[in-house]
């Protein structure tokens, strides 16, 4: 079923298809780490810098892997075209923030313990997912996509609205911070290293002191150590979500989901209450999106800018790269997207600025100024324009476009999309007990 390539790529594709999922994941991780170590060395980073680079791509890869896994449940397995990913993420983050930030800060929160906030955020995302799915389930395909996209924008604009910047309900003040955003509670990983994790200036705890001391000696500073520890925690979360969704997929439940994706009429003619299944999938998937977003933003700022539709688009691209329908592919797609396509352009820019004099002093202001000199074969202004701070996100989009066109031409099923995962709680490979009953 997989599209075949000609030439040398065919051999590579065949080799790739022959590997087991675990081997592919390990090789991908090793490959990405090697690549980014190399890039860091080229940029002249010291050990601290290298570790920080790897921390950054691990962090982003883990977050995207979780988002893609959640979307894969909805789109890859069930065929539900949910274009509201960013909206459900926002609900998770903002609910957590409003529950757990201190009442004294601006905007004020309820000051509840962080675990309550996180659980509340995930539940809120799941609950809103359920409610949103009720009218949406009458719609198929593109129409569901339009409704969910609109829904996510409504959520974003509501959080952004000045009306909710600070408001009070029954005498309790709450707020979303409107367009300025909301500071979220500090990252809980700080509890490991600091005596007073809530305060930025807190002295490290005894354990923190020991760890920081050890790493400081080899040039890795405290914030990097802290971030790396958090990235490792995130990998554990990815493993958990992966294990959960694998179980969901490889079960009679997952079998019905696949049937809904293939032909909903058949599923219901065979006695499956497809609406109920779709609602559950919406709830679970949206809850996980909320969780991923909380883990992404915690310790930082919640801003509606992070929850624009482009975020949804990114998650979809990552899923398409990885291959819809495959959980392992989702993790790979998340990692490839986050490190190469999302972070990659930044590193290209850094390398370019460091090694080639692309004249950022006179970076053109418009694309016309950049393209104009091409007439006299002067590439520099265009390069400078493409690689400037402001336009690196545009470079990212160009790169995404190229990758998508290439994939659709040559491997429409993504990296692992052709590897359909068994939809049963037992192995379907061979009939147990041999030929006879």
């Amino acid at each position: 079923m997989s599209a075949r390539l000609d030439g040398p790529l065919a051999a590579a594709t065949e080799w790739f298809d022959g590997r087991s999922d675990a081997a592919l994941l390990l090789m991908l991780a090793a490959g990405l780490y090697a690549l980014f170590t190399l890039v860091s060395l080229v940029l002249g980073y010291d050990l601290g810098g290298i570790v920080n680079t790897l921390r950054r791509i691990t962090f982003l890869s883990a977050i995207y892997a979780m988002l893609v896994l959640a979307l894969n449940l909805q789109w890859g397995y069930t065929g539900l075209f949910n274009l509201g990913v960013a909206g459900f993420m926002a609900i998770g983050v903002y609910t957590m923030g409003m529950l757990s930030t201190a009442p004294t800060t601006s905007p004020p929160g309820l000051g509840l313990p962080l675990p309550v906030g996180i659980a509340g955020g995930v539940l809120a995302a799941a609950l809103v997912g359920t409610v949103a799915s009720l009218p949406a389930l009458r719609l198929r395909g593109d129409y569901l996509a339009i409704v969910t996209l609109a829904f996510s924008e409504i959520v974003r604009l509501t959080y952004r609205s000045p009306v909710f910047e600070t408001f009070s309900v029954g005498g309790v003040s709450l707020g979303t911070g409107g367009s300025t955003g909301m500071s979220l509670p500090t990252n809980p990983i700080r509890m490991l290293f600091y005596e007073n994790p809530q305060e930025v200036t807190s002295p490290p705890s005894a354990f923190g002191e020991a760890v920081f001391g050890t790493f400081e000696a080899i040039g890795v500073r405290a914030p990097v150590v802290e971030g790396t520890a958090y990235a490792i925690v995130l990998l554990v979360f990815v493993a958990g979500v992966y294990g959960l969704l694998r179980r969901v997929g490889n079960s009679p439940f997952g079998r019905v989901l696949k049937a809904i994706r293939e032909d909903e009429t058949v599923a219901s003619a065979l006695g499956k209450d497809t609406r109920l299944f779709k609602i559950k999938v919406f709830a679970l998937g949206c809850g996980l999106m909320g969780l991923a977003a909380i883990l992404w933003r915690i310790g930082g700022l919640a801003s509606t800018e992070d929850f624009r539709p482009i975020t949804t688009f990114y998650v979809f691209v990552a899923l398409i790269i990885g291959g819809a329908g495959s959980n392992t592919g989702s993790v790979m797609g998340g990692a490839v997207f986050a490190s190469l396509l999302f972070e990659g352009p930044n590193f290209v820019r850094r390398v370019a600025t460091q090694y080639f004099d692309v004249g950022f002093g006179q970076t053109p202001n418009t694309i016309f100024e950049a393209v104009g000199p091409l007439a006299s074969l002067d590439l520099t202004p265009l390069l400078a324009y493409t690689l400037s701070d402001v336009n690196v996100s545009a470079l990212r989009l160009v790169l995404l476009g190229v990758v998508l066109v290439y994939l659709i031409q040559n491997r429409p099923e993504g990296l692992l999309g052709h590897r359909t995962e068994t939809a049963a709680s037992v192995d379907l490979g061979e009939r147990p007990g041999g030929e006879e009953r």
């Binding site: 079960s251 058949v266 003619a269 209450d273 049963a424």
Partner: protein, 281 residues
């Protein structure tokens, strides 16, 4: 080879054989009363009334546009009738959604085989059974509880293999359904509904596109299943099949029942000839 069966409690309550032993044997299994459905100006089904008795292979024929497929849709809940009643096994199932009718023991196949292409033949078969514990999300996931699901899955897997063997599809078990031929798709569709262990199966042109050898086999299987207590309502255009294998035969014409009776009687009925000839068949 007999009818596949499981030890599942849910399925056991509605096993076809059980139906002939209890007191309801006398009443028809399916009663269709004055069913009516129109689309805009066209009345597709116009007061259709008929019964299907337990343990029969009842044939439903009629010229093109007589309302056979719409009748199927109305009986199985794919469409809702404008008026009239569908009574299945003593229960008024009029307007029930398809999944509810199926769980009650009334299932259908489709005129154009609808396979779940990206699922294997075995997965297709294992999808159908009723009362699967693992269809509940928490059971599918929670450790401990999941052991029960695995046990049930092992039983279903064996049952699926038996059913596929019965329909001679077992050599294709691990293939994707999308790769099957037209005839094999028809067989798989039958396998799927058998896995559900219904009391009654509505077959919409099960033999269309099936080669003669396979057709003979399929008909043998139908008779074997009928003897096991299944009830069939069969739409078919092949008159030989209808006349040799169905008893009784119901003729639909312009949305209502024209004639109902044994094949010989229907064959010699002038009105039937007229209905067909009027259509230039």
């Amino acid at each position: 080879m007999t009818t596949p069966s499981t030890d599942t409690d849910e399925a056991a309550t509605s096993r076809p054989a059980a139906a002939t032993e209890d007191g309801t044997t006398g009443a028809p299994l399916l009663q269709v009363r004055n069913l009516r459905k129109s689309f805009g100006g066209i009345t597709a089904v116009d007061g259709a009334t008929f019964d299907v008795d337990r343990g029969t292979i009842t044939g439903l024929i009629g010229p093109n546009g007589a309302g056979k497929s719409t009748t199927f849709d109305l009986v199985t809940g794919v469409q809702t009738p404008d008026s009239g009643q569908v009574i299945f096994d003593g229960t008024d199932t009029t307007g029930w959604r398809p999944h509810r009718s199926a769980n009650r023991g009334l299932v259908r196949t489709f005129q154009i085989a609808r396979e779940l292409d990206e699922m294997t033949v075995l997965e297709n078969a294992m999808l159908a059974p009723r009362g699967q514990l693992g269809e509940q999300l928490w059971r599918a996931v929670l450790p401990g509880v999941r052991d029960e699901v695995v046990k049930q899955e092992e039983r279903l897997r064996e049952q699926a293999w038996e059913t596929l063997e019965f329909l001679e599809l077992d050599h294709l078990a691990e293939e994707y359904a999308g790769g099957l031929s037209g005839g094999q798709r028809k067989l798989l569709e039958l396998a799927r509904v058998l896995m559900l262990e219904p009391e009654m199966i509505l077959l919409d042109e099960p033999l269309a596109g099936v080669n003669p050898t396979l057709e003979t086999k399929l008909l043998e299987r139908l008779h074997a299943l009928r003897d096991d207590g299944y009830t069939f309502l069969l739409v078919e255009h092949d008159m030989d099949v209808i006349m040799n294998h169905c008893e009784p035969v119901i003729v639909l014409h312009q949305g209502s029942v024209l004639v109902e009776g044994p094949p010989e009687q229907v064959k010699s009925d002038d009105r039937v000839l007229e209905a067909y000839l009027g259509e230039d068949v």
